[in-house]
Every structure is written in C-alpha cells, then in structure tokens.
Symmetry: C2
Subunit: 155 residues, 2 copies
Amino acid sequence: MIKKKFSSSVEDYLEAIYFIGKERGSVRTSDIAFFLKHKPPSVTEMLDKLSKKGFIKHEKYGTVSLTLQGMRIAEEVSGRHNTLISFLELLGVDRGTAEIDACKMEHILNRRTINRLRRFVEFVQRAPKEPEWLEHYKHFVKTGEHLECKSEGTK
Amino acid sequence: MIKKKFSSSVEDYLEAIYFIGKERGSVRTSDIAFFLKHKPPSVTEMLDKLSKKGFIKHEKYGTVSLTLQGMRIAEEVSGRHNTLISFLELLGVDRGTAEIDACKMEHILNRRTINRLRRFVEFVQRAPKEPEWLEHYKHFVKTGEHLECKSEGTK
DNA sequence: AAAAAATGTTAGGTTAACCGAAAAATTTAA
DNA sequence: TTAAATTTTTCGGTTAACCTAACATTTTTT
C-alpha cells in the first residue's frame, strides 16, 4: 500500500515541514527556505505542487501544515533518517557527516536495505551488554589491527 | 588530491565504460545505452561532455576509451561500489537489492563514510576467525531476539 | 493610518539529463 | 557495388528543480 515513490526533493520538503512544525509550531515559506537553504520562490513553487498532491495545506501568504497523508510520508522519511543517523554513528561517522549522508541516503535506499540497517542498530542497542566487537571494530578503525579477545593485547 | 565532485550521471557513465571495457574489450555507444538502460541519443550527448572534460576519447561513429584521468575516476567509483556491495551483503541484503542500492550510494556518500564502511568490511573479512556476533546478528534479524552468551556456546 | 520593512508570489530563465524522430554514417548482404 | 539494415548522431523537446528580478501582500514602525 505504501509503495509510491516520491522525489528526493518532495521528501525533503515534507520532512522539513514536519521538523519545523515540531520545533517552532508554525511553518512559513521563509522557515522552509532557511532550513533547506533554498530561495523563497523555489519554496513557493514546491508548496504549490505539494498542495496539489494533497500532502499539505497552504494558505496564500500564510502558513503551511501537513495533511494526514503528508504527515504519513514525513514520518516515514524521518524514521529512515533516524535509523541512518544511528547507524552511521555506530560506525563512528561524526555527527556532521552523518547528518549530511543520512539526508541523502534516506531518499534512495530500498526498504529492505533500510530494514537491515535498522535491525543492525537494534541489534547493538538492545544487546544485553555492550558488545565487545564494537570496541574491537573501533580499535581496528584506528590501528588497522585486530586485538584478539582473550589471548593477547596488541599494544 | 582527488577532491573534485562529479554528477551521479557522469560517474555512472565512466563506471559503465570502465566495466564494459573490461568485459568486452571495446566500448560503443550502444553498449553503454544497453548497460545503463538509456537511449543512444542520451549516450552520445554525454560522451561529448565527457570528451570535453577530458575523461574519454571518442571517435565519431567509433569506439570509446577512458583517458588516464577518466580511468582514475572510474576506478575510484568502482572501488566505492565494491565496498558497498560487500558491506550490504555482510548485512544480509540480497544481491539484487545490494546492486541497486550500491549504485546509488556510490555517488552520494562522503569519503569518510565510505572509509568507515570499508573498514567495517575489512574488520569482518580479516578477523582471525569467523566472528560470532555476525551469526548473532543474523539470528536477530530473523527472530528479533538476542541469543546471547547464556553459557558462551555457539560453535 | 501611511510609510517603510519584511515576507511571499509571479514571471521568466537556466541547467542537467533524459527522450523521440529523422538524418547521416557504417556495416552487412545480395 | 549497390541496396538494405544497423548504428550513431543531430535536432528539437520535455521535465524537475533550482534561480533572479519584479511585483504583491502583510506586518511593523512612526
């Protein structure tokens, strides 16, 4: 049922509206322009498109809000975003880079791939205890060497 | 240093030329069109652009070959592709989906992110023995449950 | 409440990357 | 060695997503 595909841009706008709405309460053209680093005319244009598609309500010279359908999409995208951020940070990617890359990946990855990534994140987060191998991985990233579990400390 | 950024499309074409060249020896417009599932006029247009940028040699009505610079880029992209494929398959994403998603990710991810992913792949592949946690992860994907070190025993 | 400032929209333009139809060159076959 | 078939290019479109400049509306002073 939820199989339609939207452009990266459409998803970005819906996500931005969703995010700004949560942060600031109301959402206006300039907020979106600022958030997405686009110019106001581009925003107006896209808002028209999103209105026609039924994803938002937009009163001229006024505020923007998500319809139910728009909200559904925005939450879906936002969920992917969060999964990706968590995943990238697990891997030791810095916050800034993680944000940038998550924003791109969230639009292109297959559902199955995202699911695997989410599973991976859950696997780590819900582990009964802090998994050793993650420490080992981080060591490996730094040094390129495997420090073997019990026998030897490479150091 | 390799700091320039090319469009996804440019990278796709160079990668395709690289790949076809290795597979079939010579590369022609129709090969690329088939490979990328584009129409010949699109290919001709892009070949002109790539020629002007100095990434390929292309004789009219003839064959295409990568210049040194083009080769360098193609190899770089192809390397990213391989890293991504390996990574996705580690995570249990099926071949087909992995191919599709790798082809998209390879153009957008930050170098740092790719490096982390490569490290991750190496971490697993170069481990002295098959890491247990990978088994545990796969179990977790299937069942949603941790079969954790109750008494230490998989094997 | 009128002028000034800020914000939003309209109109027109640009660019990248695709396309189909038709022309041109090359290759194949009769 | 011409004619037919195939491949490649040229030419003219299309679309999405951006932009600037100019105009319209709303909000904020004074």
